[in-house]
Amino acid sequence: MEMILAGLMDSLSPVSLIYVFVGVAVGVAIGAIPGINGPMAIALFIPLTYYMSPLAAIGFLVGLNKGAFFGGAISAVLLRTPGTPEAAATTWDGYPLTDQGKGEKALRMALYSSVSGDFISTAVLVLIAAPLATVALYMGPPEMFALISLALTVIAGIGTKSISRGLVAASAGLLAGMIGTEPVTALPRLTFDIYQLESGLSLIPVAIGLLAFSEILIQLERLKFGVGDNEGARRFSDKPEDKFVTLKEFFANTKTLLRASAIGIGVGAMPGLGAPVASFLSYDQAQKRSKKPEEFGKGRLEGIAASEAANSAVVGASLIPLFVLGIPGNLAVAMLMGAFMIHGMMPGPLLFQENSQLMYGIFGSLMIASFFLLIIGRFGLKLFCKAVQIPSVVLYPLVIFTCIMGAYLGQSSMFDVMVMLVFGVIGYFMRKFDFSYVAFLIGFILVPEWERALQQVVIISQFDTFMFFRRPVAMLLMALTFFVVIRTFLAGVRKKD
């Protein structure tokens, strides 16, 4: 109890509050810009967190992610171009409302739904993460090895159109993550005798290259063909009923909000599915259960509530597998895992034992971020609407410049900038050839833990390959891994046939 209070007090310190506030504000602004999403923003801003305390850093990045989730709705509603993939379903009812001059009302509904989903999900995270982590402590190296194998397979299978491509990408990520000093012999491995590689590839340049730089290269290509340039935002009606969401209108959507939050939590807690799945599923359910399904797609607030509450509920819930098992379920969480590692912490069940005060501080920051999102969204809505009007010819050079300087900032190393550029090119080709950079990055992040677990299994069992058969949980997880591979592969074959 003492730890819980101390952690919560830490999250209320002025420095921590400022960072969370700034994180949310920047996140909303960035999310509003089409083509820039939460994980990309986290990758760009992680270098700054080197200079923050662990609590401020994680609070800032979580705020950034939460803000970006809502920010995505702004361009979805105003331009029919979702700022982030998960806001795609918001366009279906948001944009028709904008067409009717009710864009402000649609955005307010998106904000309140987003905050509701986020708050419920954060509450669930706070309530169940610590008890689940206690149970997870009983997992040994075989279970961890099997669990990471399963997580990689699920992410490889779902994050791409075919599991074979996903596994290729994840394996390439594993190989990239193995560059550096080998953990048992402490000798360099796969370094090509380049001494800068002996400490391994740093996450920051790899992530900036794969997520941000390559995305901008693609966006610039779209720009060249006249696709994706930002138009001006539409005008809002001045009538109060077209601007504000009344309490009656909000509470009329209570059921939808609760159902959407439950869907978001369920989807977020499972690795690999991600927020777009949650918002589409929730929208579909809302339409099926609505009294007026025919009004969906024509500007119904219920549709916005379903999409926004579900995708925002994913944010908190996706931290459950990270805090409980040390497994990042999606890209944004993988980036947060990287931030934990940069600050010398390994996410997983031990985090609650070794850093319990910090963990409760993070929980406090998560709740505060929800509150800040409401305040910032409520009072800064019109300002953030301007973000969608930033011309691409101004924005993209600034992002490229920030990518380069961000890669340099981490370790003041020009070698890291070159690594960023190399991974920018790799990311460009992965996108072009339809290989999952998500699977690559998660493989890259998870490989040290996966290999450590494997080494422990081999040393403990003394090469007894039947060890997994004596550990029912590990055996079940390995069986599930093979099941996922075979099922997804066969599904792919049937689809092609």
């Binding site: 190989l175 193995m178 048992v184 491995r189 050079p397 410049f401 996966w450």
Partner: protein
């Protein structure tokens, strides 16, 4: 580069990955992995497993593509510039490789990095920002100049005085 059909694109990717996997298994991993120390798993085990998965999965994909071709299944040719744009999300990628476009942005970035070490941050960053804006299509000289100066000065101040990062100014 002209737009590739999906089969052409996939085949090109698969051939490159098979070659890369073979090079990894035959040369890179044996040459750049420490010898087995006598306990635990070999340092080459996980890299070999990863490279083997890449190889097997790619060969399986080639077989699947060949079967599809033999059965006469038409995999759609990506004849429009952004063929999947119409699906509504706007998050699918282009169907063509534009190598000159890639070079246009990578080369100035590399030169900028070299420039920081040789002529210093301020002149090279200014030149880089001016060129970059021109390359993305900005033609307003005042805007180009103002944005370049502001961005370069802000970044320099933030690096030098905010984060205390050593950076050669000029």
């Amino acid at each position: 580069m002209a737009a590739l059909t999906r089969i052409q694109r996939d085949t090109l990717a698969y051939v490159l990955i098979v070659l890369a996997s073979v090079v990894l298994l035959v040369w890179v991993i044996p040459a750049y992995t420490p010898a087995y120390p006598g306990y635990g798993a070999s340092p080459a085990l996980v890299p070999n497993v990863a490279a083997t998965i890449m190889l097997i999965m790619t060969i399986l994909s080639i077989v699947r593509t060949m079967v599809a071709v033999r059965k006469g299944i038409e995999l759609l040719a990506e004849d429009s510039t952004f063929p999947e744009e119409g699906e509504g999300t706007g998050f699918t990628q282009a169907g063509r490789l534009d190598i000159p476009h890639l070079i246009r942005f990578i080369v100035p970035s590399v030169l900028f990095v070299i420039g920081i070490n040789t002529v210093g941050y301020i002149p090279s960053a200014l030149g880089f920002m001016l060129l970059l804006q021109f390359l993305v299509g900005s033609r307003n000289p005042v805007r180009i100049l103002v944005l370049s100066v502001v961005a370069v000065a802000f970044m320099y101040a933030a690096m030098r005085y905010g984060f205390g990062v050593p950076i050669p100014g000029y």
